[in-house]
């Protein structure tokens, strides 16, 4: 039976009203899950209806597959991912001493491949990298995001925060214009979320597939006619750090389902 039109409209209006009142500024972040339609949430709720889990499964297969000149699998060093990778997603991006700057999960995976497996780096948006990032992230499902912005991370956090509030592109817009000032409002036929990162990599209905956070950043920059940065760039990693801090307390939902 189709949902009643009036009830649906009233519910939608009530939801939008609540979200526009309780913005991030109040200190209570809201996951993209809460901005999604009930049908989209239902897709995520069951691991057997969540298409992103197929990608995480693939990552799981890669976890046990030997690779590189060292002919080692992730499992050879890290054992059961459910144990060794538990909590990892909650604290990335993190300060990486060898680089003197922040590193995110995708870049860290390639560092491990290079240094320990003596294997070729995976392309950032390759199905292998997305699979592994989804699989590793999945091990932190349900845990609270708790990234560290103190000490050596602080200057990078500041850069990420500046980026979030900086106007850019032909449309001269900052991330905050949509995702802070207007979270919960409609932009044409889309509902604006708070741009939280707790569910990435995510299955975007728009992509009919799983993609990384930096892919989403690029799309957003393209949309406001701004020159996008490269995946894995300092700009995007620093922004990711700021957003991870902004969403502290949200539970990890990787791999999630979003529009």
């Amino acid at each position: 039976m189709q949902k009643n039109t009036f009830t649906g409209l009233m519910a939608g209006a009530a939801v939008a009203a609540v979200f526009s009142i309780a913005a991030v500024a109040s200190g209570e972040p809201k996951s993209g899950y809460q901005f999604a339609e009930p049908e989209t949430r239902a897709m995520q709720d069951d691991d057997f209806s969540n298409p992103a889990m197929l990608v995480a499964d693939y990552g799981g297969d890669l976890w046990s597959t030997p690779d590189g000149e060292a002919n080692k699998s992730c499992e050879d060093c890290h054992g059961d991912a459910a144990v060794s990778m538990k909590g990892v997603k909650t604290r990335y991006p993190t300060y990486y001493q060898p680089w003197g700057k922040m590193i995110n999960l995708e870049l860290r995976i390639n560092e491990c491949r290079k240094n320990n497996q003596k294997a070729k780096a995976w392309k950032y948006e390759s199905k292998e990298m997305i699979g592994m990032a989804s699989y590793v992230g999945y091990q932190s499902r349900g845990m609270s995001m708790a990234v560290d912005i103190g000490g050596k991370a602080t200057p990078f956090f500041k850069k990420g925060k500046e980026f979030f509030y900086e106007r850019r592109g032909q449309m001269d817009m900052a991330c905050s214009h949509c995702h802070e000032d207007n979270a919960g409002n409609m932009i044409r036929a889309n509902l604006l979320s708070e741009a939280q990162v707790n569910g990435f990599p995510t299955y975007r209905l728009k992509w009919s597939g799983v993609g990384t956070l930096h892919r989403r950043f690029k799309g957003c920059n393209d949309n406001i006619r701004a020159e996008p940065f490269k995946r894995g760039s300092d700009e995007y990693v620093n922004l990711e750090l700021y957003l991870a801090w902004r969403g502290r307390g949200l539970t990890v939902e990787t791999p999630s389902v979003r529009n």
């Binding site: 039976m1 649906g8 339609e37 049908e39 932009i187 889309n190 604006l192 949309n223 529009n259």
Partner: protein, 155 residues
């Protein structure tokens, strides 16, 4: 191309072109045409559903699709699902898609209930038609409209 005497005045020719362009644009707005409806009814007829009665079908679809490329749909047809009284097939047709056929679900008494769900692609706002063929040769049908929007920032 404004008039030579007064640069601000729109020439008559220009005005006609503007009105014509607007009309053409309006005509190009996506809408389900009579041809689409006919194609769906032809598909219903080909499946044997001419003269199908209404009732006994629950067709579950969102009022507004979050994204037209992945729309969850559920269908349930009332039936005892016994050896001599069960639902054989449920067809789904999408009136506004390039081709109306979406899927055909084949049940048996061992299914227990004639209930299934999947995810479908919808090109635009349109009616979805469910057509159920019963084991006794009779047919039932149900129609539900789904709104499909063109996203927000960049689609």
């Amino acid at each position: 191309m404004s008039s030579k005497e007064n640069p601000r005045k729109i020439s008559r020719r220009h005005a006609i072109l503007l009105v014509g362009a607007a009309a053409a644009a309006a005509g190009m707005l996506p809408r389900v045409s009579l041809a689409d409806k006919e194609a769906t009814e032809a598909a219903v007829k080909a499946a044997g559903g001419d003269g199908a009665s209404s009732g006994g079908i629950t067709l579950d679809l969102p009022q507004i699709a979050e994204n037209g490329n992945t729309v969850p749909v559920g269908v349930e047809v009332e039936s005892p699902m016994t050896a001599d009284n069960y639902v054989k097939t449920v067809h789904l047709f999408a009136e506004g898609n390039p081709n109306p056929q979406v899927c055909a679900m084949h049940f048996t008494p061992a299914s227990g209930i004639a209930k299934a769900s999947t995810r479908i692609r919808l090109a635009k706002t349109q009616n979805i038609v469910a057509l159920a063929e019963m084991s006794d040769g009779s047919f039932r049908r149900e129609t539900v409209e789904v709104k499909v929007t063109i996203g927000g920032c960049g689609g």
